[in-house]
């Protein structure tokens, strides 16, 4: 069983090829550069490097958001097309859940997040259980203060994982004090190999055609339109 994992949902771009019990290779960058130009060449490069042909793949796994709308769409467009045209299953995994894996040996609450501008973050709460991490609080978009206040409700220690840590660290420390711990700089890039194994152990989506990104948010125009309909 060989799987290709693709993550272009945020500035971190990652691709990995795995087979059962083994990571054949992964490629990760953390750059503010165009995923549309770089993602397919990265896929080609890693596949060539590990000598796996597209036709030898058994599964495609993609980080399906949240994150940059455009970034998520590039990854999902490529993943859907590969899965459909190769006739293999597609599995989508939360981009936050992938990042949370970097704290998988931590005993408290694991809090991955991506900055979502204007004081907001995309985030969720994950905890270690017998068979890996479990979702304690679903992925959402929320004001950082509100989120940290919510976490403060328990005495637990929290591990924050994010390349956007510096933007929000002050607020987190202010509210949580010693309850807040921070992952080290080498742990902030989501790892595509983690994504691949999450996807390998999960039921594939029943329909590749119906697969959609999880943007978490409606498009602005759509949200406004819905609000106007309710009046």
């Amino acid at each position: 069983m060989k799987a290709l994992a693709i993550d272009s949902s945020n500035y971190v771009m990652g691709v990995a090829v795995i087979e059962e019990g083994k990571v054949l290779g992964e490629l990760i960058t953390n750059l503010k550069k165009n995923h549309s130009v770089r993602l397919m060449p990265a896929i080609e490069e890693i596949m060539e490097e590990v000598s796996v042909k597209p036709s030898e793949l058994d599964r495609i796994v993609v980080a399906n958001g949240p994150g940059s709308y455009t970034g998520v769409r590039i990854g999902v467009s490529i993943a859907k097309t590969l899965a459909w045209s190769l006739g293999i299953p597609l599995v989508g995994v939360s981009s936050l859940e992938v990042l949370a894996q970097n704290g998988k040996y931590f005993q408290g609450g694991i809090v991955p997040f991506f900055d979502a501008r204007r004081g907001q973050v995309y985030t969720g709460l994950y905890k270690k259980e017998k068979n890996g991490l479990a979702t304690y609080k679903k992925d959402q978009i929320i004001m950082i203060e509100e989120w940290v206040e919510e976490l403060k409700q328990t005495e637990m220690e929290y591990l924050f994982i994010s390349n956007d840590l510096e933007l929000h660290k002050e607020v987190i420390v202010d509210i949580l004090g010693d309850q807040a711990l921070f992952a080290s700089v080498t742990d902030h890039n989501a790892r595509p190999a983690e994504l691949a194994f999450l996807g390998l152990n999960r039921e594939p989506d029943t329909s590749v055609h119906a697969f959609t990104p999880n943007y978490i948010r409606l498009a602005e125009a759509e949200a406004k339109w819905l609000a106007s309909q309710k009046k």
């Binding site: 165009n34 549309s36 130009v37 770089r38 993602l39 397919m40 060449p41 896929i43 080609e44 597209p54 709308y69 455009t70 769409r73 590039i74 999902v76 467009s77 490529i78 859907k80 097309t81 590969l82 459909w84 045209s85 190769l86 590749v208 055609h209 959609t212 990104p213 943007y215 498009a219 602005e220 125009a221 759509e222 339109w225």
Partner: protein, 338 residues
């Protein structure tokens, strides 16, 4: 059986609000041409919302691909090359098509060819009749008003373009002034058939000899006419206003096209782009070209509006000329036709 292998192009177009895939044989024969329009979704907003267009493209893309291949009874193995619109257009929308095409090219090890959207509109005509050069194309759509001279196959020279609004844009704005539903172009065309061009509106000829266009003055004149009439408590028949506006647009378009056709001694004049569906424009062009030596080509309606068969037709030319794109191909919203 012919000893020559048929060339099969799979084409993808997502530059605006249509998710389209087509299979084209030998650059001329449409084996399938599937278009999923999002217009019903965008009507709510009175225009195309880029983020929503991009989201729809992701939802539709593989479905439309499957449908196009099925309808053409073609498998990916039989495809010789994949053509895709790389620009111009909405960047987020283009990205879906471009990355889909790249993934397909990689998965099946097929050559990839990036195509200019306007080249597609021009080559839609090749699906009807063999094009002959030199040729002049009048390209009119929501985003474009251009006169393109082609001395040879696949060689484009823009000899005139709009300095402000595209003709289609002016149509949409005037339609809004007349409170017509989106998209406005077809509604104005229809209204115009019922009225007469009795209102005096300007025609922007620009400096002598210029093939450029300008529609913003005309658009303002229409808005002022409506505004002034309302202030004086007079009523203007919308049919007459539509007819007058349309007459002004068509006058300039047709006159400059005729002049360019004569000057460059072209064999064919082809109409291209969504506004090519306009009845008034078709009629006037047919009228004027009756007595001219150049042959006038106007594609059928379903090939005027955005579709992927036209990208397949233009892609076939580029493919045969040896053009290849690699996996770094990007969406280019400001791509220049050359």
């Amino acid at each position: 059986m012919s000893d020559k292998h048929d060339e099969i192009i799979l084409a993808i177009e997502t530059s605006c609000d249509e998710t389209a895939v087509a299979v084209v044989k030998n650059g001329r024969e449409v084996l399938s041409n599937v278009v999923a329009s999002q217009i019903e979704s965008h009507k709510r907003f009175g225009g195309v919302v880029p983020e929503i267009a991009s989201r729809h493209h992701v939802e539709q893309m593989t479905l439309i691909l499957e449908e196009a291949l099925k309808e053409a009874s073609i498998t990916m193995d039989e495809v010789d090359a994949i053509a895709v619109t790389e620009g111009p257009g909405l960047v987020g929308a283009l990205l879906v098509g471009v990355n889909t095409a790249k993934a397909l090219a990689f998965a099946h090890q097929k050559p990839l060819v990036g195509v200019h959207h306007i080249a597609g509109h021009i080559y839609a005509n090749q699906l009807i009749k063999e094009l002959e050069y030199p040729l002049l194309a009048l390209v009119v759509s929501g985003g474009h008003t251009e006169l393109v001279l082609m001395e040879a196959e696949g060689e484009y020279q823009v000899i005139g373009e709009t300095r402000d609004d595209a003709a289609g844009e002016a149509y949409d704005k005037v339609a809004r002034t007349l409170k017509l539903p989106y998209p406005g172009g077809p509604h104005i065309d229809k209204l115009a058939q019922e009225g007469s061009p009795t209102i005096d509106l300007p025609r922007a000829w620009l400096e002598p000899g210029s093939y450029d266009f300008s529609f913003s003055g005309l658009k303002s004149a229409v808005i002022n006419t409506v505004h002034n009439a309302a202030q004086r408590g007079e009523t203007i028949e919308p049919e007459d206003l539509a007819a007058s506006f349309q007459a002004s647009v068509i006058d300039v378009l047709v006159e400059k096209t005729v002049r360019a056709a004569k000057e460059h001694n072209v064999k064919q004049v082809v109409l291209a782009g969504g506004v090519a569906a306009n009845k008034g424009l078709r009629k006037e062009l047919e009228e004027r070209f009756k007595d001219l030596s150049a042959d006038l080509l106007i594609p059928p309606l379903q090939l005027c509006t955005d579709n992927a068969a036209m990208i397949g037709a233009a892609g076939s030319i580029a493919y045969r000329k040896g053009k290849r794109s690699d996996l770094k191909l990007n969406a280019n919203p400001g791509l220049i036709l050359q």
